[in-house]
């Protein structure tokens, strides 16, 4: 009796397994090497963002996230589906990038990622995302190592932000040729972005015939910068004429304020980079930053799209863009949408299947893409930007573009 019941049960289970297996195989057979993302007829397409949206650098990430949201809003349906954004926080550090990456790859309905904000978060996340077969496009990572195959490059990583090889060379050229200064010092905070940029600056400045008298670092979270500034002022080659510290808001503000108070640095020209360009940063630096220089992507965009974009930004978020990488995020999102439309396979019932490898190949093949930030063409390691760097100066609490 018991035995017979067992057999019946076993048969039932086997039958249900076979039936459910039949049900799972969709109408379009997925042949993609990395698998496919399947959306039902009424499912929204899901993309994720992983930007710094809390903490001292929140404006940097929120600004980019607004760019993504505007792109979704202005684009309307993609391949006949609405788009849903899953917003994660990269925390602007390696742990945050790792955590956000793990969370994203555990969700099979996410087709692509816009992120990260900080290069420090980008390094681990690029690995996590790539290993899982996903793809990410960063609107604001600028560290050279991220697209260097000998360092932190991974096959699922692209970016619409400039590579700091360009920015470091530009600020060095500005200091050496435009301001006519011959000695400089650079301070970074160990983050791949800041260290990479400071390194490129040093190489370029020395390449132009200048002398870098000090190259040192602080730690994230440091408040008392006077010891390191005192050491810079006492360097062997004398106090530098130009001091470049491409660090983030809090440390940048501390360095800007305290450099004026250190003996020997009173007449040193100080400069920071795009990690310290936001309304909040200008407010945090205050009067001490009057006349200070900032390098960053050239935001004097032209074109009708940017006009519409800014209007949308004002309607949705009640202000002009608050930081630098909103347009890069907008372009990154639209690159992703273009590729979904190119490689997505729609079925008669309206369901959509997007191959992950196809998605990657399509993004890497982006060429002549007309975005707000320029004409984007991706190289074989995911550098897609059309980089234009400008230098602005803080005048009365406003960033005023002065060069080139």
């Amino acid at each position: 009796m018991n035995k017979r019941l067992n057999i019946v049960l076993a048969l039932l289970i086997a039958a249900s397994l076979v039936l459910s297996a039949c049900g799972a195989s969709g109408p379009a057979e997925c042949t993609d090497d990395l698998g496919c993302v399947e959306y039902g007829p009424d499912d929204p397409i899901r993309i994720a963002s992983a930007l710094v949206i809390t903490g001292a650098n929140a404006e940097l990430g929120l600004d980019s996230q607004h760019g993504v949201e505007i792109a979704i809003d202005m684009r309307g349906p993609v391949a006949g589906h609405s788009v849903e954004l899953q917003a994660e926080d990269d925390g602007c550090n390696a742990e945050g990038g790792q955590a956000a990456g793990q969370k994203i790859v555990s969700d099979p309905s996410i087709v692509a990622v816009v992120g990260t904000s900080c290069s420090g978060a980008g390094v681990p996340m690029s690995k996590v995302i790539s290993d899982a077969g996903y793809v990410m496009v960063s609107p604001s990572n600028t560290a050279p190592s991220l697209t260097d195959p000998n360092e932190a490059w991974n096959p699922g990583y692209l970016r619409t932000a400039h590579n700091d090889k360009v920015q470091g060379a530009a600020i060095a050229q500005f200091a050496h040729d435009e301001l006519g200064l011959t000695t400089a010092a650079a301070i970074h905070d160990g983050d791949p972005y800041t260290e990479g940029l400071a390194n490129v600056f040093r190489e370029s400045f020395e390449g132009m015939g200048g002398t870098v008298v000090a190259f040192t670092a602080v730690s994230k979270g440091d408040t008392d910068m006077r010891p390191v500034l005192t050491a810079v002022a006492a360097s062997e080659g004398g106090a530098p004429e130009f001091l470049f510290f491409p660090v983030f808001t809090a440390e940048c503000a501390f360095l800007a304020k305290q450099s004026k108070e250190v003996a020997g640095l009173e007449n040193t020209v100080i400069a920071a980079a795009d990690g310290c360009v936001s309304d909040a940063a200008a407010e945090a630096i205050g009067d001490a930053g009057e006349g200070m220089y900032f390098s960053g992507p050239d935001l004097s965009f032209s074109g009708d799209t940017y006009v519409t974009f800014k209007e949308k930004y004002n309607t949705l978020f009640g202000s002009d863009p608050i930081s630098v990488f909103h347009a890069h995020a907008f372009d990154a999102t639209n690159m992703i949408f273009d590729c979904i439309e190119q490689v997505g396979v729609s079925s008669d019932d309206g369901s959509l299947s997007v191959g992950r490898q196809a998605m990657r190949s399509c993004l890497y093949a982006t060429s002549g893409f007309q975005g707000i930030t320029g004409t984007l063409t991706c190289d074989q390691y995911g550098d897609c930007a059309d980089p234009k760097i400008s230098v602005s100066q803080l005048q009365g609490g406003e960033y005023v573009r002065i060069w080139p």
């Binding site: 404006e59 190259f215 006077r226 010891p227 390191v228």
Partner: protein, 353 residues
């Protein structure tokens, strides 16, 4: 002889080797730096003064850890948040508006006193509330429970204040009479740092006298000695513990104002690292001892400032300022190896713990 050799534990040998290695390393670095001598004596005085100013803040915060540990044997990890809450509130509601209206530079002393008062009162309020809600119900619980609660309270307070005031870095206004430098020992020091050092000295002396001379101070010492007996002597233990928290928090509130004067920006996360450093300072000086907390704070501040250039510059370590925490915490380990009770601490195990 052979028996004595057998008694030597391998672990002891390894520990001794580590100690010797650290000391050799430090001496080697120091000698190398002094031989090259890239810094003038004026630089060294600068480093030391910077260290004393930073250390004064650690000392004031460390007092809170030590006081609470003294009465409850509990590490109050939310103490850094008491420090943050006071100055954040004072910056947003007092310093910002006063500066915008121009009152700050017309009546700087009055404005500063008002900022100090608001910061201290807010810190005390937050501390009393935390003590009542999060710690008092757990007084009879095992020791680990309040410790974990304190960590939770710390996060809760951080994110509450982030919710209240926003996550951006807020500037603290420049006060004209405190900007600029004054001559001191052949160099110049910032007026704000001078204020920090002077105010800290007065507050520490005041606190010491309060604990040692006043009736409430006596009650605090009695509760620290033995809660049950103190209760039998007619001391209201709960009230005394609340007063202890308030005292520690008022010191932290004052430290917050000094921090803002020197660094001129505040942020919801600003309490975390100084809190951790001040805890280290309290342990370094001997937790439970008030002079110990003061000395531990100064020691830590000076080592953070002088240590990296003195020990590492001569060894040609690149970007050695990043390693200042390594130096300070190595120092902590060294001191605790040689003196587990801290510089001025009493031996645990006799009457406490």
């Amino acid at each position: 002889m052979q028996r004595r050799l057998q008694n030597i534990n391998y672990l002891d040998v390894v520990l001794w080797l580590i100690r010797v290695a650290i000391i050799v390393f430090v001496l080697w670095g120091t000698i190398a730096t002094l031989r090259e001598n890239p810094y003038s004596s004026r630089n060294w005085i600068d480093f030391i003064v910077l260290g004393i100013a930073q250390g004064s803040m650690y000392a004031l915060i460390a007092i809170g850890y030590t006081l609470v540990y003294g009465v409850l044997f509990m590490i109050n990890f939310a103490h850094g948040e008491f420090f943050m809450s006071g100055i954040m509130t004072a910056t947003v509601f007092i310093a910002g508006p006063l500066d915008a209206s121009g009152y700050m530079n017309k009546h700087p002393i009055l404005s500063l006193l008002l900022i100090l008062l608001v910061a201290m009162l807010t810190s005390v309020g937050v501390a009393l509330l935390t003590e009542r809600v999060a710690y008092r119900p757990l007084r009879k619980a095992p020791r680990l429970v309040p410790l974990i609660t304190a960590i939770g309270a710390s996060f809760f307070l951080q994110y509450t204040f982030r919710g209240l005031y926003g996550s951006e870095v807020k500037p603290f206004p420049v006060i004209n009479i405190l900007s600029g430098k004054i001559p001191f020992l052949g160099t110049e020091i910032l007026r704000s740092q001078m204020v920090v050092i002077v105010v800290t000295i007065f507050m520490l002396i005041g606190l010491y006298l309060f604990i040692m001379r006043s009736k409430t101070g006596k009650a605090i010492r009695a509760v620290a000695e033995d809660k049950d007996v103190a209760a039998l002597m007619g001391i209201d233990v709960d009230r005394t513990i609340a007063i202890t928290f308030a005292l520690g928090a008022s010191m932290a509130g004052a430290a917050g104002v000094l921090y803002a004067l020197v660094f001129r920006q505040v942020h919801f996360f600003m309490g975390f690292l100084p809190g951790l450093k001040a805890f280290t300072a309290a342990v370094l000086g001997g937790i439970g001892s008030i002079p110990g907390a003061a000395i531990g704070g100064l020691f830590l501040g000076i080592f953070e400032s002088v240590g990296p250039p003195l020990f590492l510059d001569g060894l040609n370590v690149p970007a050695y300022h990043q390693l200042k925490d390594v130096i300070t915490f190595t120092l902590l380990v060294l001191i605790l190896i040689f003196r587990p009770q801290g510089i001025l601490g009493e031996r645990l195990g006799e009457k406490k713990a």
